[in-house]
Amino acid sequence: MIETGSTPKQGETTILWLIKIVTGLILLILATIHLIMNHYIGSLGGLQTYSDVVRYYKTWYIPAMEAVFLVTVLTHSLIGLRGIILDLRPGEAMLKFINWAFIVLGMGFGIYGLWLLIIIAGR
């Protein structure tokens, strides 16, 4: 018989997989913009000083775009990492722990990142 010890309930992977694909497609655009604006354009190749960063984040749509980028990149990376871990057949209890740990990690870093964005945009 096929071992199904660590198989999450049916359907769970389909939805997560679809979210990974959708966030991946969004990231394709946002990560390129993020890389070009933060690391390529600018006098010395990107945002080189604190004042560069503050000036860049003054335009209202930049923090908004970076906020969407933050949420999508966290979602995509954590679902992807969970998929990689699933390849290693974690047991039921370990998978449950990973699920919760990743939710906490994602929410935690998401809130922290948004807080940082608000601080910079407000300066």
């Binding site: 990560a31 890389l35 690391h39 390529y40 080189q48 960063v53 990492l81 290693l88 870093f109 940082l116």
Partner: protein, 128 residues
Amino acid sequence: MNTQSNFVVRAFRWFDPRGRSLSGWGFMIHRLTALGLTFYLFLHLIVLGQLAQGPDAYDNFLKSTESPLYKIGELSVVAAVFLHGLNGVRIVMTSFGIAVPRQREIFIGAMVIGLVAIVIFGIRMFIG
């Protein structure tokens, strides 16, 4: 089947280069860049916390990243983003049944575009 080995041994099997086809290398690149980028993402977010501490803290931190070693690291991240993103396009396409018989050619095309982008970024970072 091969159930006896521990997870470290099994994880290394993903990167066993023996007898791999081109798209098998695509899998390896995708997985390696995924792990690298995830690690970098959290490191990046933690380091950006310096922004909250004001201009002096952030500018001092930026000064410390001007060494060539940091630049190589930065270019590695840029390279990983391009390789992962472009290979990701192939994976999305084939996952929806689009151009599956042409996935090898799409992979070659994606890698060529990725390498060109990496070279452009590299020139900008190191030469200006």
